[in-house]
Point group: D2
Chain length 353, copies 4
């Protein structure tokens, strides 16, 4: 059988527009979401509508960006591992040159390490231009590792990846040390919009956020995560824009905060680990090119600017869906009624998170 | 603009065959993987080849299945919350009837609770037939919650979902209490296959697994997870079979174990939180129907059997990709060489995890 | 050298009284705290004073109690492990008899298990009367394990403890499945007491609790924990009452909640894992006997009642110290000023947490 | 009642000697342990005996030291928080001066930050000489915070401690960013010592460590921890040397590694978060002075050297107890038999962890 050209056709819709401002982009844009879960579209759509009713819309602040890969080396003993770590930090400039020699775009911007027993984990941090940077980081790390094995005494190969990176696993390290784009989104929803569009109050949303997202996730044994369903929006957005959607694992580790400000609702989603690129794997597909172009992420800009724009749009999209679901869950039965209504319209629908 | 019928066409290939035995299915089957990361296909393919060289192939044991939803109620105080919890457990049979009254397939099979301050989280566990069961569980929980609010004194609505479920968030509770299908896969790779196909030794794989998956993830601050890249295989399989791929977040929390057994390699992947269904959202799409049928998951079987079959195939697929990547990472430079070779073949490729 | 009778003399003070009500004890009592950190005494003392100014004082609700030990067995394969688990659950009544045969006080009240690869972790839950129960649980588990190894086919000894118990390690399982006494404490502080004694407002305490205890701990990568310094009070109380103070590791995993209720402060500390006993190791020391007696925990009561009383007093003590520190941290400089004042009084002092 | 001079007299014994080498100290020393759990003494004693039978004894490598405190400030919005963070990093030298102005010993050696919503957590890292440094860090942070509030626009006081430090809570951040002394201990136990003194084999210890400490803790939902009972030894050592024993909470988060090296046992305990000092609170008590002096930690040395010596002795003590317990748990019934024997000797005893 020949299935070389087969595709999994995931239903996709553009929703919006949503309004964005902040330190990366000021724009109003629709966003594409590919998903098997059709209720996601109206849910994000409602949040987008809210964003258009706030003067500044969603203010998205990008506060960090880097891609990482950790290598693992075995040393003769801990003392040798310690000496190796000191050696590595002392030669940072030399290692930067190694990276420059193997990549046009990757730049080594930081090194962290940890020693356990006779094992040394070294976590390299790179800037990677407009690419999400998995490949660049791996190739640069491969070169760095080869260089270190040749020049640092007493160490031998452990692994090109020591899971201390960490890619597609839910851990604490990515949020603490940084991996991907770190974007904070904020939206101040006027009181009447809270009432009329979200059918709730700021106080109810703030209280639910504390109890469900902060406390409920904590009791469930969550790790650095407090949100209702970041994963849903990220999946839809990542698929629609050619991203490696397995990165929703760490991407879904983010924090929603909500405050009642005299009846207005301050609503914020922080996404410390957005792994997105405007170039690279998956970006050559026709619909991806089209989508990225429509999002304004294929424009002539300085290196990295298209990817940053993509990141803040992704983050703003997450806020829209998060706000809408939380508002719905403040009201008994609202989710179920929405479900039944959608069912009546002959659509299957999945509700909640 | 009309984009009602737009799709995101994710490239899809069938790889295999892989051999499966165990308490759910004995079969040899190809598996479909939809992904933007083309190196996934040969990687899983190599693991599949290994499975065909082992007499029993991948032995997949399903050890649990349930779907959950937690509701949150606010009580007057902790004493009232405690009384409510006792009340709820005492009326389990009555609550079972409530569920039977609102669903043909959902069956209430367990209740757990936790109290913090004056808040009561109640986690309902259901069997949901061949569906992954998100909707069923939510609708049944909505009915249960309504019933409880009417009949239990001193409590009021908190949320239809308290994040103690937990859906699409990486937590500890799902593994400990169960959510989705829990499948253990095991493969005994003969020594010569380890050498000839995987180009490594059992001892090297076992050692790498300890250092990278167990220790490295631990140091990264992981939660109930020790694997290299479960998320990659799950994403590809979920997209190809119409699953809600956001469930890779908890699905990726699983454990790889490897042992050197006199030169043979014992290799095992445990996936405690596989959320899959053979019916439900996304399953009506043409290619999904085709794929599920080809996988033998649309056959006439007892309720739930098609979903269980799908789960063990998913789990076996994960093992194939995990084995292949770990074996590659035991050898310095192998990943990079594979990458360069694929590049030369005019393909983009992402390496590692 | 002979040091058979040496002691480490930890400074100890009684502070209070504090007022307690709830489903275990209604009392006013001073509490003993042994610590090298002298600021702990006035800090807990201030909280105690607040408790006396609230009509019901601290309402302490005990919502669960059990002691656990997990054994680890190796099975031929996962299928055998699964069969063994089913076998074990099916013979619960028989296992209860095994426990009755080796202990007067231990009662088997629950069994949980988890399978990974070919390994089976079985977590036994016991009631253990007035003892914290470490020994009882271990001895009973030893008998159970011996019995299982003789009667369940295909399994062999792994470990008498598989760290799935979990003793003196910070994990999620103890809170989710229960270990030790689970006590919720609540205190409604009248507005004027908040102002006059705590020098703050309910709104400020509630806000600080969200930002520091819930969010700050989350960002730090905490696991099932949201409090400022439970560990301090537990250590002091455990040492003063002959407890195994290493159990502060899991004991410190608890949750503080605070709400502004029209200016009054609702303040609650939930301690899911209090490991305390009124009999057992360490309880025979003179000062411990004296302290337990003064706390009313050596009275003639039904089995277990003295330990439960001890647990709620411990939990109430924790609330006192937690409330006092949080209130102090709402005010810039207050901690430092307290420190300087104590220094001036020729005392060393450690501040904060 | 007057109890100003009361003490909790915790039974204390010196065990050993144990042999230590490495980058901080080469010594043979007994160690004091204060505990209510008497089996701890022979357990550590057996490990100490093993250390004396290895030529280099326990090789202890100190790989990091720092004390931390995080402050929390509220900004007008995320953009202001981001600007504040940049401002703070740019003025590191100025902040160092602030610290020098308020402390003789504290030195600011690092700054990390994290932004969530409009909140900024700033984590200051200090060297603190021979003190554990809680107070120094808090006082310096208080000065820093005051300075920042006066000089950085758009921010206001949140908390002197934001739980991002993190003190006495089990989190991931301390291990990843460093807090306290980070000490790696290693011991190569000759095969015949494994057999004769530990009554086991290197292979059995290595296997148990993987299954119990690495896997079992992982399944329990542990965070950055893989050991059997670090907390027991730390508690005993901390109490005997006047440390703030509540720091066993994070101290107990460490990693045991074991390998079979041709029949010899490589055994290593890594303790990333040892919080100890040879001066400060609790160190003025007579028995503490005596103990520190006997340990050689009150000698004339360069600043910080006594505390480092104390840290490696603490870490070596932990290794002794960990090794002994793991060895015992490789043998069915050994723990119980030890218990029964101790009981027969009219002593109460607690077993295991």
């Amino acid at each position: 059988m020949t299935d070389a050209h087969a595709i999994a056709g995931v239903p996709m819709k553009w929703v919006g527009p949503l309004r964005i401002s902040g330190n990366v982009a000021t724009t109003e844009t629709h966003v594409p979401l590919a998903t098997y879960e059709s209720p996601l579209w109206p849910s994000v759509g409602r949040g987008a509508k809210v964003s258009m009713l706030a003067p500044d819309g969603i203010v998205a602040t990008l506060v960090d960006e880097r891609m990482t890969r950790s290598v693992l080396v075995e040393a003769r003993d801990a003392q040798t591992a310690y000496a190796a770590a000191q050696n590595i930090h002392a030669r940072t400039e030399e290692l930067r040159e190694v990276v420059r020699g193997c990549s046009r775009f990757a730049e080594l911007i930081g090194i962290r390490h940890e020693i356990t027993a006779n094992l040394l984990f070294v976590r390299f941090e790179f800037s990677t231009g407009d690419a999400s940077g998995h490949n660049m980081a791996t190739l640069a790390s491969d070169a760095l590792l080869g260089h270190l094995l040749e020049t640092v005494p007493g160490i031998s190969y452990g692994s090109i990846s020591g899971n201390y990176c960490t890619d597609k696993k839910a851990t604490a390290i990515n949020g603490i040390l940084g991996r991907g784009k770190n974007v904070v989104t904020e939206l101040l929803v006027p009181r009447e919009v809270v009432t009329d569009v979200l059918h709730t109050t700021a106080a109810k949303v703030a209280e639910l956020n504390i109890r469900k997202n902060l406390l409920g996730t904590l009791l469930a044994g969550g790790i650095r995560s407090a949100n209702a369903h970041f994963a849903n929006m990220l999946l839809g957005f990542y698929l629609a824009t050619g991203q490696d959607a397995a990165n929703i694992v760490e991407g879904s580790q983010g924090i929603t905060m909500a405050e009642d400000r005299d009846g207005d609702l301050y609503f914020s989603c922080t996404l410390p680990n957005l792994i997105v690129g405007s170039v690279g794997n998956g970006k050559g597909l026709g619909f991806v090119e089209t989508n990225l172009t429509r999002l304004g992420c294929r424009a002539e800009r300085e290196t990295g600017a298209n990817a940053r724009r993509l990141a803040v749009i992704a983050a703003a999209t997450v806020l829209c869906g998060e706000l809408s679901l939380l508002a719905a869950q403040t009201n008994p039965g609202e989710l179920m009624q929405a479900h039944v209504r959608l069912e009546r319209d002959h659509k299957t629908a999945k509700v909640g998170a």
